[in-house]
Amino acid sequence: MTLDIQKIRADFPVLDQQVNGSPLIYFDNAATTQKPKSVIDALSHYYASDNANIHRGIHALAERATTAFELTRTKIKEFINAPSSDQIILTAGTTGSINLVAQTFGRANFSTGDKILISNLEHHSNIVPWQMIAEEKGAIIEVIPVDERGVLDLEAYRNLLDASVKLVAVNHVSNAIGTINPIAEMIQLAHAHGAKVLIDGAQSIAHLDIDVQALDIDFFAFSAHKLFGPTGVGVLYGKRELLESMPPYQGGGEMIKEVSFEGTTYNELPYKFEAGTPNIADVIALSAAIDYVNALSKEALFTQELALLAYATEQLSTIPGLRIIGTAPDKIAVISFVMDGIHPQDLGVLLDKFGIAIRTGHHCVQPLMKRFGLPGTCRASFAFYNTFEEIDLFVKALRRSINMLQ
């Protein structure tokens, strides 16, 4: 399927604007993706027509809102091929999902001397929640190293795995350098040692096919806003027996079956983990984002992104003194780079003046930056609505910025 990029771009209103006098070039898709008009319309339609609290109201609006809300859950289930909708827990984001697992699964299962394996590629949100629960429980965090290319050292991973490992928590794709990790193999190895696996799918959900059953994933977490959906919505998928055995997370309305002052019994899945009124509007709008991606086909979108990656890599390689950080053979369309003698922030400031949005800094992966001996990098991350012409303009602006700074 060939994509009509100009037609696709017209679906994203935000792309059609000038920034500092130049057409916006948005290369910060790993931070958040832009939203198609259908998502924006779904949000406004909900508030204009259906707004009601869900699940308990018996009036028409409550029914419409509840139906739309639960329809999203079903769509998510299909999108990641989960066995059932009640294994889809709606949270505030990937961070919220990981904290949920740390505070419930971790609280119930970790004890002194147990190990949690994470990797050197992890985002702070897949490090800090584990440090917090590990400290409380006396568990130990060990780190799977990465090589110079930014590829996980699987030999070291094998050596770290033993019966004391209770959980392996790794990202599917590195947010900072784009490495796609071999999670199928990693999950198999973890399971062979009796460890459960949490996959942080924040950076893979919009680009790679996710089949939680085929991959035999125990927990999978992602955010809607990196999937062209709204901010403030995340998903946690979990295997049924794990979710059922985990204690509840936050207490409140919705998550209870019966409450008395003597005690409370908890609701069934997924509501046991969804205390309080959820982010109804944004959950409903996520439906539109999933429909959008499905209609274009994730595979076709990823093919376009890989072509952009290859072209940008080739073009950037022609700039003397520029070094690409993260050269794994399997990458999504993320390029991190540094320039000899120039601080990434300076390049970011100047590119912004050209209307180009990239990310500079440590990308919330300080341990990875330390591994490469860098204070930070410049990161350009592409989505299918980006174009080859934008890459040409970016490279031209980058050369000009470098000249200004040298």
């Binding site: 300076d346 970011g348 200004m404």
Partner: protein, 140 residues
């Protein structure tokens, strides 16, 4: 004292008024950054680091008579240019003058985007830290 905080601000506004486009303005700012003497290594301490900046920024202040004298450095040259202007405006003034200074020149020369409260632009933190030093010295 050579000139007042307000006079230096006016001077900077005139200087930046000479540029027609942003690129010339930033080239000048980069030049200011490159010309600002580096802070000696023994002053690049953890204590002197300004928190909240994407690049590391060090600010050192000392009292010379009635005046506060600032020295600063940064890994990023544009940040260094910005801080060089702040030093030019605020250094060698009394604590009281620094504390009550209204730094309107930043907006007038079109650099107010650097005051945004994001972690990447630390100008706001720099101004705050300079005023904090003034406050600390005046309390002594």
């Amino acid at each position: 004292m050579a000139q007042s905080i307000q006079e230096t601000q006016e001077e900077l506004i005139v200087e930046f008024g000479l540029f027609d486009d942003w690129a010339d303005k930033y080239e000048y700012l980069i030049d200011l950054g490159k010309k600002l003497p580096s802070l000696s290594e023994d002053l690049k301490t953890e204590e002197n680091v300004i928190k909240g900046c994407q690049s590391r920024v060090w600010l050192h202040a000392e009292k010379q008579g009635d005046q506060i004298v600032f020295e600063a450095d940064s890994e990023a040259v544009i940040v260094k240019g910005l801080i060089s202007m702040l030093i030019r405006v605020l250094s060698h003034h009394s604590a009281e003058e620094i504390m009550k200074a209204d730094l309107y020149f930043i907006d007038q020369i079109g650099m107010s985007q650097h005051l945004a409260q994001t972690r990447s632009n630390g100008l706001l933190s720099m101004v705050k830290q300079m005023k904090n030093y003034a406050l600390a010295f005046s309390a002594k």
